[in-house]
């Protein structure tokens, strides 16, 4: 078993961090110990392996994404989170809890008051869009037409985040189920339009990988999704289901195109 000192010197030499006088000490150790020589050879190979791993290129859209979060003409640190978040009105957690159904993930991702003011990480995925995605940038669209229900669901892939824009008019309380997990997607937040206020009768839940959004109104909303896992398996479609009074009135799927780099 090599002594700690020998290991330290071997590693320091490999890193080019040997101090004056230590070279001679290491040389003596290596000369007298086959184990030390073997260790040095192994460590050298490991370090060479580590250093041979190529750099990863960030997604091409990343610079633009970051710049887009910084308002033009403003001092960068003055763009308060509140300013970014205020355009979104999450469905109140209280309503969701009242249903006894809500998984806290969704609310945690959305509610700014639950985070330290400077916790920008928590807002990733919820502050990407201040309005409906441009229809020209939509990657897939699904028309929804059933007795008492009319509208569409569109998916925009903007790199690491996918935005599902739901615009469905219904005559009665409607539940829209989005099969995220089956599509290899995770939930990153939900948002209403800029001028909307939450209304009674709206709530959402995440159960068994599906997002359920229940609404008695017909206001459009955006759902923010992100790919999960290591990306080895890429799903092809995102299932959408609409139910009323516990009865399925529509079922369809959005085809997922384009892969994040």
């Amino acid at each position: 078993m090599l002594e700690a000192r020998a290991l330290q010197l071997i590693n320091a030499e490999i890193d080019g961090e040997l101090k004056p006088g230590e070279s001679a000490e290491l040389e003596a150790i290596l000369e007298s110990s086959a184990e030390a020589r073997a260790m040095k050879a192994e460590m050298l190979k490991l370090v060479n392996l580590l250093d041979s791993v190529p750099e990863q290129a960030p997604p091409e859209v990343l610079t633009g994404r970051i710049l887009d979060r910084i308002p033009v003409g403003k001092r960068p640190w003055n763009f308060a989170l509140a300013n970014l978040v205020s355009s979104f009105q999450p469905i109140p957690a209280g309503l969701a809890f009242a249903t006894g159904l809500l998984l806290t993930v969704g609310v945690y991702e959305l509610s700014p008051e639950q985070h330290a003011p400077d916790d920008l990480n928590s807002m990733v995925g919820t502050m990407l869009m201040e309005s409906q995605p441009d229809s020209t940038a939509q990657d897939a669209r699904l028309a929804i037409s059933a007795p008492g229900v009319l509208g569409s669901v569109a998916l925009s892939d903007i790199g690491d985040v996918l935005i599902l824009s739901v615009d469905v008019a219904a005559e009665q309380k409607t539940e829209i189920v989005i099969a995220m997990a089956n599509a290899g997607l995770g939930f990153r937040g939900i948002a209403r339009g800029p001028s909307s206020e939450p209304e009674v009768g709206e709530y959402f839940e995440v159960t068994e990988g599906d997002l359920h959004v229940v609404s008695e109104t017909s206001r459009p909303f955006n759902v923010y999704l992100r790919r999960v896992g290591n990306g080895a398996i890429r799903p092809q479609s995102l299932g959408i289901e609409v139910t009323q009074m516990g009865e399925r009135v529509f079922e369809g799927s959005l085809e997922l195109h384009g892969e994040s780099s």
Partner: protein, 180 residues
């Protein structure tokens, strides 16, 4: 590693100069992304973390002390953001294994392309303390002293973590059939 830093650029960023902000992002985006990628293990989370790093950096730019190296400051934010995100992922996706999937087994033939896979697997098997020093040393090319500055730990601790981490990685690679 980014070696050059123009202090005037930070001042311009502080004044809200768009071009300076873009220049700053372009200069540090790749190293920050790569550090985040190696700590988190996947490109999507690395992109999220990188975005957070820059937004947080710009929001707190007035707190940056120009007597210190800018890359140390932004790397510190990057490491903290990445580790926080890693912990959050573990918490939110308890059934999902963030490490690289073991698909071939110890007796398989290792192609050159798989080496990066197994290196990342070895990294993800380390504790985040160990992983961070390996990432900063080998993927950010920082010296012991610079790593100590970024992590705010003594150089002695950097050494001890790095040596232990390498030993663990070596054993992990050997266990996966990668012979050194």
């Amino acid at each position: 590693m980014v070696n050059s830093w123009d202090g005037a650029l930070v001042d311009r960023c502080r004044r809200g100069d768009r071009q300076a902000i873009e220049k700053l992002i372009r200069e540090y985006e790749k190293p920050v992304y790569n550090a985040a990628y190696r700590i988190l293990g996947n490109p999507e989370d690395a992109a999220d973390a990188t975005q957070s790093v820059f937004l947080k950096a710009f929001e707190n730019l007035d707190r940056y002390d120009a007597n210190y190296k800018f890359f140390s400051w932004i790397y510190r934010i990057a490491v903290n953001e990445s580790i926080n995100q890693f912990k959050r992922n573990r918490k939110l996706e308890p059934l999902e294994d963030d490490s690289v999937a073991d698909t071939s087994g110890p007796d398989s033939t290792v192609e050159s392309g798989d080496l990066a896979h197994w290196i990342q697997d070895g990294l993800m098997a380390l504790t985040h303390d160990y992983r961070t020093v390996v990432v900063l040393r080998h993927f950010s090319d920082l010296s012991y002293r610079e790593i100590g500055d970024v992590l705010d730990i003594p150089e002695k601790t950097v050494k001890s973590r790095l040596y232990s981490a390498r030993q663990s990685m070596k054993e992990r690679l050997l266990a996966n059939g990668i012979h050194l």
